[in-house]
Amino acid sequence: MEIKNNDKISNFQLFFAIIEKLNSFFIHINLHNMITFSEVSKRYPGGYQALNQVNFHLKQGDMVFLTGHSGAGKTTLLRLIALIEHNTSGQIVVNGQNLSRLPTNRIPYLRRRIGMTFQEHRLLFDRTVFDNVALPLIIAGLRHQEIRRRVRAALDKVGLLNKEKSYPITLSAGQQQRVGIARAVINKPPILLADEPTGNLDPALAKEIMRLFMQFNQVGVTVLIASHALGLIKSMGRRTLILQQGNLIGDTYPRR
């Protein structure tokens, strides 16, 4: 009896071993992890422990929210992914690249593959909206006509085509936010990190922007959105990471 039972288990194990093998075979094609945090901690130079042994991973094509109280470490976490800050311990792997082993001169290329929107927008105030959105394409050295075409398409998506020639200073906070979003997605990055993207938007516009993120996600972009807007997050019905005092206290999947 017992022997038979054991046999069953090993059959099971064999089955999973084969699946595992197949998985690792096809891992580069689909199911591979886009962002992996293993025991990641971040202590700022002042001594403040902003993140504490955080573990999670995002698969390619995931759309995940990151929430938590103000000062919980959401921005810090996003900044670690784009190497704006370096983690003090643990390991971060982005798109197969271990960030602690990424040479400094490769950091720009990492950032080109990560579209990022910032809480405080980070726009160039002496450039037009068009020039701001075009920036990643100019850096990539695209042809002028191509830049024009893509920038207009992106501005159209965020509903700011008529503001093309305006300066950011003349825009409302929500409009500036959308310029930042257009800039983040213009180079079609495989990863999109959005820090408080709906902070200054009215509910209708916030929904609109979320729909935009979902569109990107549907074509395979991995999206991580830091947000306070619990209602909005709930209505989206997506996986949510919850930070508290730098600890990851929740990784909830929506019940379907």
Binding site: I84, D126, R143
Partner: protein, 320 residues
């Protein structure tokens, strides 16, 4: 675009952008950096003027040296030896002696000045003119002007001594010994100018470096944003290099103006002075070659200064 597969970042080779796009980008940078300089005319002009003065000084001194050199070469260049021939030797014998001396290994050329020619020359230079006609016969000796092969002290001295021994020679002496001394002095001055030029080139590097440093810190936010969206250091460095280039070029142009006006200012008195001695003298000024050298060295000093400054300060600026 299909996002379903994404090879790891490190393995992805960036597709080289079209060449034409780079060219456009460079042209854009060239003119946009010029635009930035022109937009703040007064501070830019002051910087360029400082660079201009620093470049004008060694250039002007160098040009002065060239002129002195030209004068001295007009007057016979290096040490020559004049052989005054005894009165009793006739023209034929003088020429024979000249031919014989021409074979001498230490002599590069021999010029014969017959008494008649000497008198002619004296007549035109002294301005006595007709009064010389009153002379019953020519009191001047024939002269052989010897150009030694080298300027070397010992060789020419030995040559002089051996020429003194010649039967036909009354007196043998170095021509224009003072000129030789002047040339030796000029070598010292030349080196002084070289040292000055190096020091002032360093000053230009520092001035441009400092200007670029300020420009970098003024655009700190912009640089941070560029870095955030994935600009390489090379990309961020480029506009500053162009700025340095323009400052250097304008500095060179201002130096050119300084030197040319100064020499134009000197032209009158120099002309008066030189007609007294040497009528063919033409004051050397900056020609096409030296002008372009001046502009080129200004521009490259600008580039180098910018490069040094940018390399150091870009590293310090990291995005927040």
């Amino acid at each position: 675009m299909n996002h379903s597969t994404h090879p790891p970042i490190s393995h992805r080779k960036a597709k080289p952008p079209p060449r034409n796009a780079w060219l456009m980008h460079y042209l854009y940078l060239l003119f946009s950096s010029l635009g930035l300089i022109v937009r703040t005319p007064l501070p830019s002009l002051m910087t360029a003027a400082v660079i201009g003065i620093a470049l004008a000084l060694p250039t002007g001194l160098y040009l002065l040296l060239e002129n002195v050199q030209q004068v001295s070469s007009g007057w016979g260049g290096a040490a020559q030896i004049s052989l005054f021939i005894k009165q009793e030797i006739d023209n034929k014998q003088v020429h024979a002696l000249a031919d014989q001396l021409y074979q001498h290994p230490d002599i590069s050329s021999v010029q014969v000045i017959t008494p008649t020619e000497a008198l002619e020359e004296y007549r035109t230079l002294s301005g006595f003119g007709e009064s010389l006609d009153a002379l019953e016969h020519n009191p001047l000796p024939a002269v052989l002007v010897i150009q030694p092969i080298t300027n070397e002290e010992i060789t020419t001295q030995n040559l002089l001594n051996s020429l003194k021994q010649l039967r036909e020679v009354e007196v043998a002496q170095f021509d224009m010994l003072w000129l030789k001394r002047l040339l030796a002095m000029m070598e010292i001055v030349r080196r002084g100018v070289l040292i000055l030029a190096i020091l002032l080139a360093l000053a230009v590097l520092l001035v441009i470096g400092n200007t670029i440093r300020l420009a970098i810190y003024n655009r700190r936010d912009e640089i941070e944003i560029y870095k955030l969206v994935g600009a390489t250091d090379a990309f961020i460095r480029r506009p500053f290099l162009f700025t340095g280039f323009w400052y250097g070029l304008f500095g060179g142009f201002i130096a050119w103006l300084f030197v040319n006006t100064s020499f134009w200012f000197l032209q009158g008195p120099v002309k008066q002075l030189t007609t007294l001695y040497y009528s063919q003298f033409e004051l050397l000024t900056l020609n096409v070659l030296s002008s372009s050298m001046l502009l080129l060295s200004g521009a490259s000093l600008g580039l180098a200064g910018a490069w040094l400054a940018v390399g150091r300060h870009l590293r310090e600026i990291q995005p927040r």
